[in-house]
Symmetry: C2
Subunit: 244 residues, 2 copies
């Protein structure tokens, strides 16, 4: 296999001209590739992410991969253990609670601002996003639907006009997708499909308080739909059983 590797290495230099011209954008694309794969659960929690393997797949060296991995680690999508490398984060029940409490506080608090800044153009954009989400769900693409749902919440936060809080919501939504992947029931992905449309309705009429209350219930419903049993790891039980 190392022979194949050696041969494939020759393909990298071909991209050099392109890489040097738009290196940052390539990094961004790779980052998003991995991020999407995690959020869409194609990379399952606990999956190991070896630097060599990623470097080979994306045709850049380990240096760049490490940079991306660190960014993902800071966003808590991957866990970086000192000499063991990177793996997709497996959120604990406590973390899940923290994330949803945080979403309650921030996303609900943002609704009045969003309602105030809501125009026809924004409403149309959100409706289109909700439509795509429904469509994905109907055609059985649950992974895609999860990501589109997260995108919807993020876009909503961005419409508040506060970039800092929008960024926080983005991170919370990414982690939520991970939480859904671990604790969610198959066939019931957090957001009910009509919920988002209802929400747009309240926002469109400028009814911030109503939207806030609705968002609160919406998030509570998602959280309630989770089954908070910590999946047993490979060899964890002994300590638990004997009261370690």
């Amino acid at each position: 296999m190392s022979d194949t590797q050696a041969l494939e290495k020759r393909r990298a230099p071909v991209k050099d001209t392109k890489t040097s011209k738009e290196g940052d954008e390539r990094h961004e694309a790779i980052y998003r590739s991995i991020s999407d794969a995690i959020v869409e659960q194609r990379l399952k929690p606990g999956a190991r992410l070896r630097e060599d393997a990623l470097a080979e797949v994306f045709g850049i060296s380990r240096t760049g991969i490490r940079k991306i991995l660190q960014r993902l680690a800071l966003e808590q999508l991957v866990t970086l253990t000192p000499r063991r490398g990177a793996s997709v984060t497996r959120p604990t029940a406590d973390e899940a609670k923290d994330v949803f409490d945080a979403r309650q506080l921030i996303e609900c608090g943002l609704m009045p601002d969003v309602a105030r800044r809501m125009g026809e153009k924004e409403a149309a954009e959100l409706r289109e996003m909700a439509r795509q989400e429904r469509q994905a769900l109907r055609s059985g693409q649950q992974s895609v639907a999860i990501r589109l749902s997260a995108d919807f919440h993020v876009r909503l936060a961005q419409l508040s006009g506060n970039a800092t809080l929008a960024e926080f919501v983005e991170r919370l939504c990414s982690r939520s997708s991970l939480i859904l992947a671990v604790y969610g029931h198959r066939g019931h992905l957090g957001c009910e499909s009509h919920d988002h449309d209802d929400l747009i309705g309240y926002l469109e009429t400028g009814n911030g308080e109503r939207a806030k209350a609705f968002m609160s219930r919406h998030l509570k419903a998602i959280e309630a739909s989770l089954s908070m049993v910590e999946e047993e790891e490979n060899v964890p039980d002994l300590q638990q059983i004997f009261g370690g």
Copy 2:
């Protein structure tokens, strides 16, 4: 000068045994060194942070410095421009508004939880922090006082029990220090010294709503104390003057 550099390089290997044993902790220490220097305004907004220089100062190679710089960039304490390197972030007025709005939402929203979890031990710890802050202020160490004030707000958020939101507050406080450094008046650092003690009082008696209202006024007062004039940079005027 490059000769001196070449000679000094020999000092690095001496540390290797130590570095390899506790490399992570050393990185953490360096990170905090730089972070503190920024928050305490010993590194002023706009200051360039050359990788070579930092690498030499801390006795590690550029690789490690880059890692730290990237982390600081993600926290928005330093700005990383593509081929120009790193510099201390100079917050804009818009960013300042976003940050303080975010603090209003999050820190105020956290107060009821904090009040609920407040015990004697926690109150004592906070009073000690407030005392140190007053002392630093009295002895003219404004830089230190700014950092201690930020530490106070962060510790408060941690007492809410929500690690995720506490982390957000930490980042917001760091950026606030930067904002104070740029837009604050000399001699009037954001937090009034007695404010924090009053706040502890409300929290100690479990009066979450009162604490919430007080925190809101507290933050508003800090924001109001800023003079929101964007400092002229070195050579920026031409475009502004001629309506670029």
